[in-house]
């Protein structure tokens, strides 16, 4: 799982890698496609799917994740850093140094003349512009149009519940809409403080856009963590809500994809494959594997709530149960939404343990464990078992014959598992004429990222040669192109 870091903690090499990946996308044309998507969202007003409405946060979460995945096609180790303007809020902050974002604009035209995105580098000409604008160089005007958000303002925003409120647009009260408060009071001033290119509909032309929005996404994730029962609003079908802003509405411009993202589908940022460097470990979501040995844990302090997730690959009966001497209560949520309640149990297991048995469809589920008494603590363990095999995950025998597979639909992801009984160097690779993209997770946890590869094998095949510890691993195969399909085989050799 990728970790998004505070930009102020990046090493020189991490900054250089981010800049190089951004410039790589600029060179191959992908960067300007992202800029055009953002501009197009604004120009669709009053039907803007991305701003001044409930989907402001989900749309930008999806948008940033796609940009991050594009960066990782250039350099798999790169993640989007975030800019915490409550701390780094001066013109002299290291963010604006010549080895990272470059500095303020100068002169009457406010042209940025320092850093990697200065026009003089010959590598950063703006080609996607707001209507009527012909400025083809990056501009900034720090502080000309307001101030950066303060910690006090951020704290006040995080205290606003519910997520959003009628009339579900720019007229939603900043006192009854967390989204509106975050968008209007926190987000907009960030754009305005940087000024210049960042004030435009084509604001992603300034790469600091990504760091600014990464911080907005981080704050949303923090709000979600502190308000686990506050569901995304409004539901689809609510009158007078712009298309794309309802909970299960496909979000433009991706709404014609085979599995288009919706606000609901991006609520769990961990499920999207990233986390933030400041997320408290104790409050993090711990992954469980169906059929694995019980995971030991404890309610370390009174009032603590532990959160787990597990993936059901194939529909069937599943049992979530606790073991141990502590009187815990388990609550099950999902699929793919940690706020959709399914069931809660106190003592259906042995002693004072919890036991929930349910037929579950495929998807990601969440379990919240608390002590029955709000003033008590104690150890326990938790496990998930499935009564049916998981046919969605095929097994690869190490040094056995290659397993045949097919990407039969756009965006399909095939999952395989293999078990290593001893540590060593292993090669996982695909074969065939399909341009596969291989991602490895494990050991013993399908949510723990190990490595990924596109074309290190023959032709456009993937190959990972890695030193691996014993345990169960999970290999995910997808087509390099989101719309691509084709046959392939996959093998694991020592």
């Amino acid at each position: 799982m990728g970790i998004r870091k505070n930009q102020s903690s990046l090493s020189a090499s991490e900054k250089a890698a981010f800049i190089a990946a951004v410039k790589g996308l600029k060179t191959n044309g992908a960067y300007d496609v992202f800029v055009a998507q953002h501009r197009a969202a604004f120009m669709a007003s009053p039907n803007d799917p991305a701003h001044r409405g409930p989907a402001f946060l989900p749309w930008h979460r999806e948008y940033l994740r796609r940009f991050e995945l594009a960066l990782q096609q250039v350099d798999p180790d790169v993640t989007i850093p975030y800019w915490d303007w409550t701390i780094d809020r001066t013109v002299g902050a290291s963010l604006w140094s010549a080895d990272f974002m470059g500095g303020n604009g100068t002169g009457t035209n406010r042209r940025v003349n320092t850093g990697p995105f200065a026009f003089s580098t010959g590598e950063w000409a703006l080609t996607v512009l707001d209507p009527g604008d012909s400025t083809n160089f990056l501009t900034r005007s720090f502080g000309a149009m307001g101030s950066l958000p303060t910690q006090q303002a951020v704290s006040a925003a995080l205290n606003v519940v519910p997520y959003d409120s009628a009339p579900w647009n720019s007229n939603s009260s900043t006192n009854t809409s967390f989204r509106s408060r975050l968008e209007v009071v926190i987000h907009n001033p960030g754009h305005m403080w940087v000024g210049g290119s960042m004030m435009a509909m084509a604001s992603p032309n300034d790469p600091v856009f990504w760091l600014h929005h990464c911080n907005i996404d981080r704050l949303w994730a923090e709000w979600q963590r502190e308000n686990p029962g506050a569901i995304y609003l409004p539901p689809s079908g609510t009158p007078d809500v712009v298309a794309g802003h309802g909970r299960d509405d496909p979000m433009p411009p991706w709404n014609n994809e085979a599995s288009p993202p919706t606000p609901r589908s991006v609520l769990d940022h961990h499920a999207l494959g990233y986390t933030y460097d400041d997320e408290p470990v104790s409050a993090g979501i711990i992954s469980l594997t169906v059929g694995a040995q019980p995971t030991s844990a404890s309610i370390a302090q009174a009032g603590e709530v532990d959160i787990y997730s597990f993936v059901v690959a194939a529909a069937g009966s599943h049992v979530i149960e606790t073991q141990g001497p502590t009187d815990v209560v388990a609550a099950l949520y999902g699929p793919n939404d940690m706020t959709t309640f399914i069931s809660e149990d106190d003592d259906s297991g042995p002693g004072a343990n919890s036991r929930i048995e349910r037929n579950l469809t495929a998807g990601t589920y969440y379990v919240r464990i608390r002590h029955y008494s709000g003033s008590s603590s104690g150890p326990y363990s938790i496990s998930v078992s499935g009564s049916a095999p998981q046919p969605g995950i095929q097994t690869i025998q190490v040094n056995g014959p290659a397993v045949q597979g097919t990407i039969s639909a756009a965006n399909e992801r095939d999952m395989y598992t293999f078990t290593l009984t001893s540590a060593g160097t292993y090669t996982i690779e695909t074969a065939g004429s399909t341009d596969c993209f291989l991602t490895l997770f494990g050991p013993d946890n399908p949510a723990t990222f190990v490595a990924q590869d596109d074309d290190s094998g023959p032709g456009t095949n993937s190959r990972l040669a890695l030193d691996l510890a014993p345990g169960a691993y999970f290999a995910q195969v997808r087509h390099y192109s989101p719309t691509g399909t084709g046959a392939y085989s996959i093998s694991v050799r020592s």
Partner: protein
Amino acid sequence: MAEQREIYKGRQIILRTGAEASAAKAAAGIAAEESGAEDVELYIDAERIFTVRDAGGSFIGSGFAFDPQPTPLDLAKKIIDYRETGK
């Protein structure tokens, strides 16, 4: 009100609305995708400012997307304010 004119900080703001705006768009041959807010045409010193109106009725303009204003005239003044800061 078809046309409003106002001088702000020495700059002339012209706002055309309704049929006047539609006629101005047609006369200028403005493409549909750059037409912007329906029935609104905004100019600062004869420079056309592309303007859109969000679902809540607020106005934003070209190069000025993150400080929505309740009216096109307010938007024009904000844009002039920003341009003044660069001098």
